[in-house]
């Protein structure tokens, strides 16, 4: 059997701030620039979920993309969409909500929900021009 990758694209809008509480305000602005604004700023995040596996001979599917969409909505979008990533989610109390950390968090959430026989990859666009991928192989 051949392996095929299937993709689902979702999106969420959220506010965040990059700030290290162990540093002075000056150092935070020096390192994070405008992203350290104390009143937050925000993005339209675009999320691509890649699932790789064998095609099921009975359905022709690797994975039902509607089911994948429902999984992402229930476990990721409900927690992140129209939220403040620093204040409203439990994931970024001790780490900065950078695109790098967000993509790892989303991967860890979804990895628990998708059978281990499938490979999982996540790409997260913070803007049209800035995006990250996890895991790296």
């Amino acid at each position: 059997m051949s392996k095929v990758s299937v993709f689902r694209r979702e999106h969420f809008n959220a506010a965040h701030r990059l700030f290290n509480p162990g540093w002075s305000d000056e150092k935070n602005f020096e390192i994070f620039g405008k992203c350290a604004n104390p009143h937050y700023h925000g993005h339209n995040y675009e999320l691509e979920i890649k699932v790789t596996g064998e095609t099921d001979p009975e359905t022709g599917y690797v994975m039902d993309l509607k089911k994948l969409s429902d999984l992402v909505k229930e476990n990721v979008l409900n927690e992140f969409d129209h939220k403040n990533l620093n204040l409203d989610t439990k994931y970024f109390t001790n780490i900065n909500p950078t695109a790098e950390n967000i993509v790892i968090v989303i991967y860890e959430i979804l990895r628990k929900k998708i059978d281990v026989s499938f490979d999982l990859g996540i790409r997260l666009y913070e803007t049209d021009r800035n995006f990250v991928e996890y895991p790296v192989k």
Partner: protein
């Protein structure tokens, strides 16, 4: 007459919340957009001017100079900001995309050279939602 459009972008936080209403009514009318801790967007701004190309330059107006005016008068005030809290020209207004585009028009009108005719601005809040304003 030719139209010339310059595209700029900014990222900002906001919320839709009417302080004269209860939290319940705000959530009923604005849904998730009323989240008290803000959410945010990547905004795309299209600024269109119109005019006849200059005989010597072939330009209506130097697009690089237009970009600098838009950046200095608008983007600088909005990018990586909280629209409700940080932006002087949105104070006392609801931070809807509709009100924001009117505010941006007014700012640009103050800073564009007299000879430039501003035709239209288009403001995209998401790839699927945008507003346009023609100054009236």
């Amino acid at each position: 007459m030719v139209y010339l459009t310059r595209v700029e972008h900014f990222n900002a936080a906001h919320k839709l919340y009417n302080p004269d209403w209860t939290k319940e009514k705000n959530e009923e009318v604005f849904g998730k957009c009323a989240n008290e801790n803000w959410h945010g967007h990547n905004y795309e701004l299209y600024v269109t001017i119109k005019g006849d190309p200059n005989r010597d330059t072939g330009f209506i107006f130097d697009a690089k100079k237009l970009s600098i005016i838009v950046k200095d008068s608008v983007i600088e005030k909005l990018d990586h900001k909280n629209l409700n809290v940080d932006v002087d020209f949105m104070q006392g207004k609801m931070c809807s995309t509709e009100n924001l585009i009117v505010g941006i028009w007014e700012q640009l009108s103050l800073h564009l050279p007299k000879e430039i005719q501003l035709h239209c601005i288009k403001l995209c809040e998401t790839p699927r939602i945008y507003v346009e304003y023609f100054g009236k």
